[in-house]
Protein backbone atom coordinates (compact mmCIF):
# COMPACT_ATOMS: atom_id res chain seq x y z
CA UNK A 1 0.00 0.00 0.00
CA UNK A 2 2.91 2.37 -0.68
CA UNK A 3 3.48 5.25 -3.05
CA UNK A 4 3.81 3.17 -6.20
CA UNK A 5 1.08 0.65 -5.35
CA UNK A 6 -2.02 0.42 -7.49
CA UNK A 7 -4.14 1.22 -4.42
CA UNK A 8 -3.07 3.36 -1.45
CA UNK A 9 -4.37 4.92 1.72
CA UNK A 10 -3.14 8.37 2.66
CA UNK A 11 -3.21 10.59 5.72
CA UNK A 12 -2.16 14.19 5.15
CA UNK A 13 -0.26 16.23 7.71
CA UNK A 14 0.85 19.81 8.10
CA UNK A 15 4.41 20.20 9.38
CA UNK A 16 4.55 22.86 12.08
CA UNK A 17 7.74 24.89 11.93
CA UNK A 18 10.61 25.14 9.49
CA UNK A 19 13.51 22.77 9.00
CA UNK A 20 16.82 24.12 10.25
CA UNK A 21 19.21 25.06 7.41
CA UNK A 22 21.10 23.44 5.74
CA UNK A 23 17.99 21.41 4.96
CA UNK A 24 19.70 18.36 3.47
CA UNK A 25 22.06 17.95 6.45
CA UNK A 26 19.31 18.44 9.04
CA UNK A 27 17.06 15.85 7.40
CA UNK A 28 19.92 13.36 6.87
CA UNK A 29 20.92 13.77 10.52
CA UNK A 30 17.35 13.11 11.75
CA UNK A 31 16.90 10.09 9.50
CA UNK A 32 20.24 8.57 10.48
CA UNK A 33 19.74 9.20 14.19
CA UNK A 34 16.48 7.25 14.21
CA UNK A 35 17.31 4.77 11.44
CA UNK A 36 15.84 1.32 12.07
CA UNK A 37 18.20 -1.22 13.60
CA UNK A 38 17.93 -4.95 13.13
CA UNK A 39 15.83 -6.39 15.96
CA UNK A 40 16.38 -10.13 15.47
CA UNK A 41 19.21 -10.52 17.97
CA UNK A 42 17.18 -9.24 20.90
CA UNK A 43 13.85 -10.04 22.49
CA UNK A 44 12.12 -6.66 21.92
CA UNK A 45 8.69 -7.39 20.49
CA UNK A 46 8.62 -4.15 18.48
CA UNK A 47 11.19 -1.85 16.96
CA UNK A 48 10.65 1.13 14.68
CA UNK A 49 12.70 3.66 12.74
CA UNK A 50 13.28 5.32 9.38
CA UNK A 51 14.34 3.38 6.36
CA UNK A 52 15.01 4.03 2.68
CA UNK A 53 12.17 4.23 0.17
CA UNK A 54 14.27 2.46 -2.47
CA UNK A 55 15.48 -0.42 -0.33
CA UNK A 56 13.61 -0.58 2.98
CA UNK A 57 15.61 -3.63 4.12
CA UNK A 58 18.99 -1.88 3.79
CA UNK A 59 18.48 1.68 5.03
CA UNK A 60 20.92 4.11 3.49
CA UNK A 61 20.56 7.88 3.74
CA UNK A 62 23.92 8.77 2.27
CA UNK A 63 24.26 11.79 -0.01
CA UNK A 64 20.89 13.04 -1.18
CA UNK A 65 19.39 9.58 -1.79
CA UNK A 66 16.18 10.61 0.01
CA UNK A 67 15.64 13.78 -2.08
CA UNK A 68 13.43 13.70 -5.15
CA UNK A 69 13.49 17.43 -5.54
CA UNK A 70 11.36 19.13 -4.20
CA UNK A 71 10.18 16.09 -2.20
CA UNK A 72 11.87 14.25 0.66
CA UNK A 73 11.01 10.56 0.43
CA UNK A 74 11.64 7.84 2.97
CA UNK A 75 9.72 5.18 4.86
CA UNK A 76 8.76 4.32 8.40
CA UNK A 77 9.50 0.70 9.24
CA UNK A 78 7.87 -1.01 12.20
CA UNK A 79 9.17 -4.52 12.85
CA UNK A 80 7.02 -6.62 15.12
CA UNK A 81 7.60 -10.03 16.60
CA UNK A 82 4.42 -11.96 16.85
CA UNK A 83 4.63 -15.23 18.73
CA UNK A 84 1.59 -17.47 18.18
CA UNK A 85 -0.20 -18.02 21.51
CA UNK A 86 -0.33 -21.78 20.84
CA UNK A 87 3.48 -21.88 20.51
CA UNK A 88 3.82 -20.10 23.88
CA UNK A 89 1.30 -22.49 25.43
CA UNK A 90 3.15 -25.56 24.10
CA UNK A 91 6.53 -24.44 25.48
CA UNK A 92 4.97 -23.33 28.76
CA UNK A 93 3.13 -26.58 29.41
CA UNK A 94 6.21 -28.60 28.40
CA UNK A 95 8.41 -26.65 30.84
CA UNK A 96 5.93 -26.99 33.70
CA UNK A 97 5.60 -30.75 33.11
CA UNK A 98 9.39 -31.10 33.01
CA UNK A 99 9.86 -29.20 36.29
CA UNK A 100 7.19 -31.20 38.09
CA UNK A 101 8.73 -34.49 36.92
CA UNK A 102 12.34 -33.48 37.66
CA UNK A 103 11.60 -32.25 41.18
CA UNK A 104 8.98 -34.85 42.02
CA UNK A 105 6.43 -32.14 42.81
CA UNK A 106 2.69 -31.86 42.32
CA UNK A 107 2.34 -28.10 42.55
CA UNK A 108 3.94 -24.97 41.06
CA UNK A 109 3.25 -21.59 42.61
CA UNK A 110 1.61 -18.75 40.73
CA UNK A 111 4.84 -16.72 40.98
CA UNK A 112 6.87 -19.57 39.48
CA UNK A 113 4.32 -20.06 36.68
CA UNK A 114 4.63 -16.38 35.75
CA UNK A 115 8.41 -16.62 35.78
CA UNK A 116 8.27 -19.67 33.47
CA UNK A 117 5.90 -17.93 31.07
CA UNK A 118 8.06 -14.77 30.92
CA UNK A 119 11.16 -16.90 30.25
CA UNK A 120 9.35 -18.85 27.49
CA UNK A 121 8.21 -15.61 25.80
CA UNK A 122 11.69 -14.09 26.09
CA UNK A 123 13.36 -17.22 24.71
CA UNK A 124 10.93 -17.50 21.79
CA UNK A 125 11.33 -13.75 21.15
CA UNK A 126 15.08 -14.24 20.64
CA UNK A 127 14.47 -16.95 18.03
CA UNK A 128 11.44 -15.68 16.11
CA UNK A 129 12.23 -13.13 13.37
CA UNK A 130 10.33 -9.84 13.35
CA UNK A 131 7.86 -9.08 10.58
CA UNK A 132 8.62 -5.76 8.87
CA UNK A 133 5.81 -3.30 8.05
CA UNK A 134 6.76 -0.45 5.74
CA UNK A 135 4.87 2.82 5.36
CA UNK A 136 6.03 5.40 2.83
CA UNK A 137 6.41 9.10 3.60
CA UNK A 138 6.49 12.06 1.20
CA UNK A 139 7.51 15.33 2.79
CA UNK A 140 7.30 18.63 0.94
CA UNK A 141 9.27 21.06 3.17
CA UNK A 142 8.57 24.06 0.95
CA UNK A 143 4.80 23.68 1.51
CA UNK A 144 5.08 22.32 5.09
CA UNK A 145 3.10 19.33 3.94
CA UNK A 146 3.58 15.59 4.47
CA UNK A 147 1.72 12.55 3.16
CA UNK A 148 1.83 9.33 5.10
CA UNK A 149 0.75 6.17 3.33
CA UNK A 150 -1.22 4.41 6.03
CA UNK A 151 -4.42 5.11 7.92
CA UNK A 152 -3.52 2.65 10.71
CA UNK A 153 -3.83 4.35 14.09
CA UNK A 154 -0.68 2.71 15.51
CA UNK A 155 1.43 3.63 12.45
CA UNK A 156 0.20 7.25 12.55
CA UNK A 157 0.97 7.53 16.26
CA UNK A 158 4.44 6.17 15.56
CA UNK A 159 5.25 8.64 12.77
CA UNK A 160 3.94 11.59 14.81
CA UNK A 161 6.20 10.68 17.70
CA UNK A 162 9.29 9.70 15.67
CA UNK A 163 9.06 12.76 13.42
CA UNK A 164 9.07 15.07 16.43
CA UNK A 165 12.09 13.29 17.94
CA UNK A 166 13.99 13.27 14.65
CA UNK A 167 13.43 16.78 13.34
CA UNK A 168 12.04 18.73 16.34
CA UNK A 169 8.96 19.52 14.25
CA UNK A 170 5.39 18.51 15.04
CA UNK A 171 2.98 16.93 12.63
CA UNK A 172 -0.59 18.19 12.66
CA UNK A 173 -3.00 15.71 11.17
CA UNK A 174 -5.35 17.26 8.62
CA UNK A 175 -8.93 16.35 9.48
CA UNK A 176 -12.04 18.50 8.88
CA UNK A 177 -11.28 21.00 11.67
CA UNK A 178 -7.54 21.41 11.10
CA UNK A 179 -7.90 21.42 7.32
CA UNK A 180 -10.41 24.27 7.56
CA UNK A 181 -8.13 26.08 10.02
CA UNK A 182 -5.10 25.94 7.71
CA UNK A 183 -6.91 26.56 4.42
CA UNK A 184 -5.88 29.64 2.49
CA UNK A 185 -8.38 32.26 1.42
CA UNK A 186 -10.18 32.76 4.75
CA UNK A 187 -9.77 35.68 7.15
CA UNK A 188 -9.22 35.13 10.90
CA UNK A 189 -12.79 36.33 11.44
CA UNK A 190 -14.11 33.68 9.06
CA UNK A 191 -12.00 31.00 10.71
CA UNK A 192 -13.34 32.03 14.11
CA UNK A 193 -16.76 30.95 12.88
CA UNK A 194 -15.39 27.41 12.72
CA UNK A 195 -15.31 27.16 16.52
CA UNK A 196 -18.94 28.27 16.72
CA UNK A 197 -20.40 25.79 14.23
CA UNK A 198 -23.07 23.41 15.43
CA UNK A 199 -24.47 20.38 13.59
CA UNK A 200 -27.06 20.85 10.84
CA UNK A 201 -30.01 18.55 10.62
CA UNK A 202 -31.25 17.49 7.20
CA UNK A 203 -33.91 15.17 8.62
CA UNK A 204 -37.23 15.66 6.88
CA UNK A 205 -39.46 15.48 9.91
CA UNK A 206 -37.60 18.01 12.01
CA UNK A 207 -37.52 21.77 11.89
CA UNK A 208 -34.19 23.36 12.76
Amino acid sequence: MGILSSSSSVVRYRVKGKVKEPLLDTIAHGLNKYRISEPDNNSDDKISGWTSFINPYLPDFSGSSFMYDPYVVFSLRIDKKSIPSKTIQKQYVTEITRRLANNDRTYISRHEKKEIKDRVISSLGMRIPATPNIYDVIWFPEKSSLWFFSTLKSANEEIESLFLKSFALSLIRLFPYTQAFYMEGFSDREKDKLNKLSPSNFAAARIN
Partner: protein, 176 residues
Amino acid sequence: MLDISVAYNRFRFIGQEFLTWLWYMIATGRYTDIIDKDKNISLSIGDRMVLENRNSKDIEIITIKGNQADLKEGMVALTKGALVAELSLVIHVNDLPWKLTLKGESLDMTNLKTPATGRPETADDLEGAFLEKVDLYETSFHITEQLYHNFFKQRISNDWDNRIKTKIKTWIETQN
Protein backbone atom coordinates in the same frame (compact mmCIF):
# COMPACT_ATOMS: atom_id res chain seq x y z
CA MET B 1 -6.89 26.70 17.44
CA LEU B 2 -8.52 24.23 19.79
CA ASP B 3 -6.70 21.23 21.21
CA ILE B 4 -6.40 18.65 18.40
CA SER B 5 -8.10 15.72 20.12
CA VAL B 6 -10.93 17.91 21.44
CA ALA B 7 -11.44 19.42 17.96
CA TYR B 8 -11.39 15.97 16.30
CA ASN B 9 -14.35 14.73 18.32
CA ARG B 10 -16.29 17.97 18.67
CA PHE B 11 -16.21 18.77 14.95
CA ARG B 12 -16.44 15.32 13.40
CA PHE B 13 -19.89 16.35 12.12
CA ILE B 14 -18.28 18.88 9.74
CA GLY B 15 -16.68 16.11 7.65
CA GLN B 16 -19.92 14.14 7.57
CA GLU B 17 -21.88 17.24 6.54
CA PHE B 18 -19.25 17.80 3.84
CA LEU B 19 -19.78 14.30 2.39
CA THR B 20 -23.58 14.71 2.55
CA TRP B 21 -23.26 18.08 0.80
CA LEU B 22 -20.94 16.46 -1.76
CA TRP B 23 -23.50 13.77 -2.56
CA TYR B 24 -26.07 16.55 -3.09
CA MET B 25 -23.66 18.54 -5.27
CA ILE B 26 -22.87 15.48 -7.44
CA ALA B 27 -26.48 14.28 -7.71
CA THR B 28 -27.71 17.72 -8.77
CA GLY B 29 -24.70 18.46 -11.00
CA ARG B 30 -23.99 21.67 -9.04
CA TYR B 31 -20.37 20.67 -8.45
CA THR B 32 -19.53 21.86 -11.97
CA ASP B 33 -19.98 25.45 -10.73
CA ILE B 34 -17.21 25.14 -8.15
CA ILE B 35 -14.38 23.12 -9.72
CA ASP B 36 -11.70 24.16 -12.19
CA LYS B 37 -13.37 25.18 -15.42
CA ASP B 38 -10.22 24.80 -17.51
CA LYS B 39 -10.06 21.04 -16.94
CA ASN B 40 -12.52 18.45 -18.08
CA ILE B 41 -13.50 17.14 -14.63
CA SER B 42 -16.47 14.96 -13.79
CA LEU B 43 -17.46 13.45 -10.43
CA SER B 44 -19.67 10.49 -9.62
CA ILE B 45 -20.51 8.41 -6.57
CA GLY B 46 -18.51 5.16 -6.42
CA ASP B 47 -19.49 1.70 -5.23
CA ARG B 48 -19.62 2.28 -1.48
CA MET B 49 -21.32 4.62 0.95
CA VAL B 50 -21.62 4.47 4.72
CA LEU B 51 -24.17 6.56 6.58
CA GLU B 52 -24.24 7.17 10.30
CA ASN B 53 -27.19 8.28 12.41
CA ARG B 54 -26.28 9.60 15.84
CA ASN B 55 -29.71 11.13 16.46
CA SER B 56 -31.17 7.98 17.93
CA LYS B 57 -30.13 6.48 21.27
CA ASP B 58 -27.86 3.95 19.56
CA ILE B 59 -25.58 4.83 16.68
CA GLU B 60 -27.09 3.45 13.50
CA ILE B 61 -24.71 2.53 10.65
CA ILE B 62 -26.00 1.88 7.14
CA THR B 63 -23.57 0.48 4.55
CA ILE B 64 -24.43 0.43 0.85
CA LYS B 65 -22.04 -1.28 -1.56
CA GLY B 66 -21.81 -2.76 -5.02
CA ASN B 67 -21.38 -1.34 -8.52
CA GLN B 68 -25.12 -1.16 -9.11
CA ALA B 69 -25.87 -0.10 -5.53
CA ASP B 70 -29.25 1.52 -5.12
CA LEU B 71 -28.75 4.70 -3.11
CA LYS B 72 -32.45 4.82 -2.20
CA GLU B 73 -31.68 3.26 1.17
CA GLY B 74 -29.18 6.05 1.78
CA MET B 75 -31.82 8.65 0.98
CA VAL B 76 -34.21 7.07 3.47
CA ALA B 77 -31.44 7.22 6.08
CA LEU B 78 -30.90 10.93 5.33
CA THR B 79 -34.57 11.68 5.96
CA LYS B 80 -34.18 10.05 9.36
CA GLY B 81 -31.27 12.31 10.23
CA ALA B 82 -28.26 10.25 9.13
CA LEU B 83 -25.20 11.84 7.55
CA VAL B 84 -22.71 10.35 5.09
CA ALA B 85 -19.76 8.95 7.05
CA GLU B 86 -17.81 7.44 4.12
CA LEU B 87 -18.15 8.05 0.43
CA SER B 88 -16.53 6.38 -2.57
CA LEU B 89 -15.84 8.85 -5.26
CA VAL B 90 -14.91 8.49 -8.93
CA ILE B 91 -13.15 11.47 -10.46
CA HIS B 92 -12.50 11.73 -14.18
CA VAL B 93 -10.04 14.30 -15.44
CA ASN B 94 -9.77 14.36 -19.21
CA ASP B 95 -11.32 10.86 -19.23
CA LEU B 96 -8.68 9.44 -16.87
CA PRO B 97 -10.17 7.86 -13.72
CA TRP B 98 -9.27 8.31 -10.04
CA LYS B 99 -11.14 6.23 -7.47
CA LEU B 100 -11.03 6.84 -3.74
CA THR B 101 -12.98 6.60 -0.52
CA LEU B 102 -13.21 9.66 1.74
CA LYS B 103 -13.87 9.21 5.42
CA GLY B 104 -15.92 12.05 6.90
CA GLU B 105 -14.52 12.25 10.42
CA SER B 106 -10.86 12.31 9.32
CA LEU B 107 -10.89 13.16 5.59
CA ASP B 108 -8.45 10.25 5.20
CA MET B 109 -8.32 8.77 1.73
CA THR B 110 -8.43 5.01 1.37
CA ASN B 111 -8.48 2.70 -1.66
CA LEU B 112 -6.99 5.52 -3.69
CA LYS B 113 -6.47 4.32 -7.25
CA THR B 114 -4.90 6.71 -9.70
CA PRO B 115 -4.74 6.17 -13.47
CA ALA B 116 -2.27 3.40 -14.29
CA THR B 117 1.41 4.25 -14.58
CA GLY B 118 4.26 2.17 -16.01
CA ARG B 119 6.23 0.15 -13.48
CA PRO B 120 9.86 1.26 -13.20
CA GLU B 121 12.19 -1.31 -14.79
CA THR B 122 15.47 0.05 -13.45
CA ALA B 123 16.60 2.17 -10.51
CA ASP B 124 17.00 5.08 -12.93
CA ASP B 125 13.31 4.83 -13.87
CA LEU B 126 12.29 5.12 -10.22
CA GLU B 127 12.56 8.89 -9.88
CA GLY B 128 10.47 9.44 -13.01
CA ALA B 129 7.85 6.91 -11.87
CA PHE B 130 7.76 8.49 -8.43
CA LEU B 131 7.27 12.03 -9.75
CA GLU B 132 4.57 10.85 -12.17
CA LYS B 133 2.70 9.13 -9.33
CA VAL B 134 3.03 12.15 -7.01
CA ASP B 135 1.55 14.31 -9.75
CA LEU B 136 -1.42 11.94 -9.98
CA TYR B 137 -1.91 12.03 -6.19
CA GLU B 138 -1.72 15.84 -6.29
CA THR B 139 -4.58 15.91 -8.80
CA SER B 140 -6.97 14.02 -6.53
CA PHE B 141 -5.86 15.96 -3.42
CA HIS B 142 -6.29 19.26 -5.23
CA ILE B 143 -9.84 18.41 -6.35
CA THR B 144 -10.96 17.15 -2.92
CA GLU B 145 -9.39 20.19 -1.23
CA GLN B 146 -11.14 22.48 -3.68
CA LEU B 147 -14.45 20.78 -2.90
CA TYR B 148 -13.86 21.06 0.85
CA HIS B 149 -12.82 24.72 0.47
CA ASN B 150 -16.10 25.48 -1.26
CA PHE B 151 -18.11 23.53 1.27
CA PHE B 152 -16.48 25.40 4.15
CA LYS B 153 -17.07 28.75 2.45
CA GLN B 154 -20.78 27.92 2.16
CA ARG B 155 -20.91 26.35 5.63
CA ILE B 156 -19.74 29.50 7.45
CA SER B 157 -21.82 31.86 5.32
CA ASN B 158 -25.28 33.13 6.28
CA ASP B 159 -26.49 31.41 3.13
CA TRP B 160 -26.06 28.01 4.80
CA ASP B 161 -28.94 28.45 7.21
CA ASN B 162 -30.97 30.74 4.99
CA ARG B 163 -30.81 28.87 1.70
CA ILE B 164 -28.37 25.95 1.23
CA LYS B 165 -29.64 23.74 4.05
CA THR B 166 -33.20 24.13 2.79
CA LYS B 167 -32.12 23.17 -0.72
CA ILE B 168 -30.42 20.01 0.55
CA LYS B 169 -33.50 19.11 2.61
CA THR B 170 -35.75 19.67 -0.40
CA TRP B 171 -33.47 17.47 -2.52
CA ILE B 172 -33.66 14.69 0.09
CA GLU B 173 -37.44 14.96 0.32
CA THR B 174 -37.94 14.85 -3.45
CA GLN B 175 -35.82 11.71 -3.74
CA ASN B 176 -38.04 9.74 -1.34
